[in-house]
Amino acid sequence: MLQALLTVRQARRPAILVTYLDSGQQVLIAPDSEAPAPGMSEAIRRAAQQLLREDRNELLETELGPVFVHVFNPPLTLIIVGAVHIAQCLVPMAQLAGYRVVVVDPRRRFATAQRFAEVEVLVEWPQSAFDKLVLDHRTAVITLTHDPKLDDAALHFALHSPVFYIGSLGSRRTHAARLKRLIGAGLREGDVARIHAPVGLPLGGRSPAEIAVAILAEVIQVRYAERRSMSG
């Protein structure tokens, strides 16, 4: 059972492990496969699908006794545009918090293997990199380059997607200029209001590592605020 679960996890697909606590019997459901789960009641199956959407684990009381539904969603993804010093700090922090992290930067001087050893790096423009990435409701996008050519391109993609968090480094003045450009390029005010800027919770820190903490803290805050509103 463990091997089957790990195989699904490594393929970054969702899985639900259903354990009948009285008998110790376990059933692994791969929700995106067609294979039926043998002998599972419709009520448990439905509850499991609902819990998967809510990313929540729960003990169900059933006629077969207590049943634990353990949801294994693929990790949340954090896409960092800009292989800068803050990104070097943010990568391991976000990985510790359970995120799959991808760094995007076409500038070869920045996106070197020496600076980013333990993370997926795409040395490409956002336009081509984002084509290869899935920007879904389990993804956060953060732009750190300070270069409008790169940041704006990434923000256009992010704003046309359902990602749960968009953050962009820059002072209030930088951000005001950025909003002007984005609206000039056809985006609506309601759309650009999704961008968190200045990025991160106001912790007052100044060093790259401290700013990385502030950014990750804000991503986590937004993620849980969203979940609370989802479960009512």
């Binding site: 463990l2 996890r9 354990t19 606590l21 684990n57 003990l59 207590p66 634990f68 353990h70």
Partner: protein
């Protein structure tokens, strides 16, 4: 970071006997939500957590039994404020933990 279950698989592969503890329900202010896990081998080495560090000792102890008997067990730590002090559990919450041997 290597996932806990991957570590469990690697322990099993090198010949350890392993149990997995999973928080299945909590009441009151228990720090670890349902789904939190701890893995432990027959020597009592453990990784992960099922509480803020308060009931881990008892879980690790119970795990050696579960490994020996080869049968899962459901544990419940209902901690009153007095007991909480004895366990070092600051929260006074209650936690139910499913402990299973890894085949």
């Amino acid at each position: 970071m290597t996932e806990l279950l991957e570590i469990a698989a690697s322990w099993r592969q090198r010949g350890d006997r392993v149990a997995i503890a999973t928080v299945v329900a909590t009441w009151g202010s228990s720090p670890n939500p349902a789904g939190s896990q701890l893995i432990v081998n027959e020597r009592g080495d453990f990784m992960g957590s099922v509480s803020g560090g308060c009931v881990e000792g008892a879980v690790v102890q119970a795990a050696t039994e579960v490994i020996d008997l080869g049968q899962p067990r459901l544990l419940r730590f209902a901690v009153s404020s007095d007991q909480a002090w004895a366990f070092g559990l600051a929260c006074g919450g209650t936690v139910q933990i499913y402990l299973e041997p890894l085949a």
